[in-house]
Amino acid sequence: MMNQKTEINRRIQKGWGLLALSLVVLVFAFFVKATPLAVYLTGRQVAALALVLAGVAVGQLIKYTLGSRDPQVIKKMLVNEKDERMNLIRAQAGYRAFQIGLGAAVLSLLYFSLQGAALAAAGLLNDTLWYVLVGQVLVTFAVFIIELVRSSNRI
């Protein structure tokens, strides 16, 4: 019980740490223009990153702060996270998603190596690249979810 409480407290601390980091990133967003990084990043992009970090941090804090009030909820949360069958399912799904994601990345790399110059000449390189990257993310995520469901039914 004590270990569970300690574990939850550790995660709450991590949540606060992440929230602090998001504030630092947000402050940096105001000064990015004055740094050499301005070539690669805009203040809005850095601010967006800060908001994503803050969102994750707040989510963690709400989840573990509310959970820490009820020992049963803590126990269930930790058991579900450490459950060996579920970890096996996640690992199998992750491995399959990694295989497909890597395969898609290699194919895309081959495609852009061979066709990049022609796409650039036609002014289509950026758009095509963006759609291919989005496709890779979506396909990898979809494979992960499908494999999670399939393995959960099988194991």
Partner: protein, 69 residues
């Protein structure tokens, strides 16, 4: 791998959730174990054996066909 988890659990009068709580796994894991769809890790097998005061071999039976899995 065959196992006698369901009968051992019934003898103790425990529900699947109670057994799951005692060995700190999810109820779904107990269901999969009892159905023979999932083989436990050696650590979970030891925890179950300790809980039922049996040897691992008295709960889980290795079968020749397991070699192929």
């Amino acid at each position: 791998m065959k196992n006698h988890l369901e009968s051992l659990r019934s003898q103790k009068g425990w529900t699947q959730q109670e057994l799951a709580d005692r060995v700190e796994v999810s109820r779904q894991t107990i269901i999969s174990l009892e159905n023979g769809r999932y083989n436990p890790s050696i650590l979970l097998a030891f925890r179950l054996a300790r809980l039922f005061e049996k040897n691992i071999e008295e709960i889980f039976e290795y079968e020749e066909k397991d070699k192929l899995e």
